[in-house]
């Protein structure tokens, strides 16, 4: 059991290091265990954006925290994807440049697993395979309508 845990941890941290380099275009991401005794150890996350000196995740900005969390999720799914993934407006804090980096990762995850994502951001909508519109034409009652991407931009 512990051997499997350690193998998984090593695989996830390798993917995390690579994914942080990709989304932050540099910098360093690191996962480490808080205790030599594997059965008791917790998991710490460190991210150092490019050009910056410190790696404390509490000093990161709103958008940087979103990118760090998405990089961790991507690393987990590289090792073992869940049968489906549900994301509700996870791109809210991202500027346009980071939204595009996010959608690159999203498209890759979409090849391994089914993704259901809610967004108001047109850049993210462009990455979708299928779009579903929800309306409340009758006030208070939700309905699903077919939507084409062209009608949204």
């Amino acid at each position: 059991i512990e051997k499997r845990f350690l193998e998984t941890f090593n695989a996830v941290s390798r993917h995390f290091r690579n994914t942080v380099k990709r989304v932050f275009e540099g910098g360093r991401g690191k996962l480490y265990l808080t205790d030599k005794d594997i059965s008791k150890a917790g998991l710490e996350i460190e991210v150092k954006p490019p050009g910056k000196k410190h790696s404390n995740i509490n000093l990161l900005s709103g958008g940087e925290r979103t990118l760090a969390a998405i990089a961790f999720l991507y690393a987990l799914y590289k090792v073992r994807p869940a049968p489906f993934l549900v994301l509700d407006e996870v791109d809210a804090a991202l500027d346009d440049a980071n939204t595009l980096r996010f959608t690159e990762l999203l498209k890759q995850m979409g090849e391994e697993t089914q993704v259901i994502i809610i967004t108001h951001n047109k850049l993210t909508m462009e990455a979708a395979d299928v779009i579903y519109g929800i309306t409340m034409e009758v006030p208070g009652v939700s309905k699903v309508i077919g939507v084409s991407f062209e009608s949204l931009v």
Partner: protein, 163 residues
């Protein structure tokens, strides 16, 4: 993978509503307050979430349609999920229907392919599909950085889930 989601009387989905999802990236869009996050709640509810807080509600009965101008409140709510799942330990791909229904007293009933089961069986089914840990597959609105806020021992559980 989810093939189809059906909602009836669940939160703002008063009428029977069906969504057929596809592979890849399924994007849900719409104005503020139209019911997008209610779909996420429906998915969490049918896979076994039992807490009212997890449903963004005060009591678990709040998931039943409360009425609107021109519509009476519903007396029950029902969500069903058609899943095409590769069981973790076998190559067999099967189509399973999971359903949950709640009545006005707040009592829930669960069904797998029409057979009434207990909550425990639902949770076992989803653990076998690789959905044992809620934080592994659901990222709620405003909670994307939740994994950064968890304590180190809580985060460890996500690695265990991947193992």
């Amino acid at each position: 993978m989810i093939r189809k989601l059906k909602l009836k009387g669940f939160k703002s989905f008063a009428d029977e509503t069906e969504i057929s999802f596809s592979e890849g990236i399924n994007c849900i869009v719409g104005p503020n307050g139209c019911g997008k996050s209610n779909i996420v709640d429906a998915l969490k509810w049918v896979v076994g979430t039992t807490s009212a807080k997890g449903m963004r509600a005060d009591t678990i009965k709040d998931v039943i349609f409360k009425g609107s101008e021109g519509r009476r409140a519903a007396r029950s709510a029902e969500v069903s999920l058609l899943i095409e799942g590769q069981e973790l330990f076998s190559a067999k791909s099967s189509l399973t229907e999971v359903k949950r229904r709640i009545n006005s007293k707040g009592e829930s009933e669960f069904f797998i392919n029409g057979r009434k089961v207990r909550l425990k069986e639902i949770q076992e089914l989803f653990t076998n599909l690789g959905l044992g840990h809620k934080d592994y597959a659901f990222f709620e609105q405003g909670q994307i950085d939740r994994v950064l806020r968890l304590k180190p021992t809580e985060r460890r559980a996500l690695i265990e889930e991947a193992a």
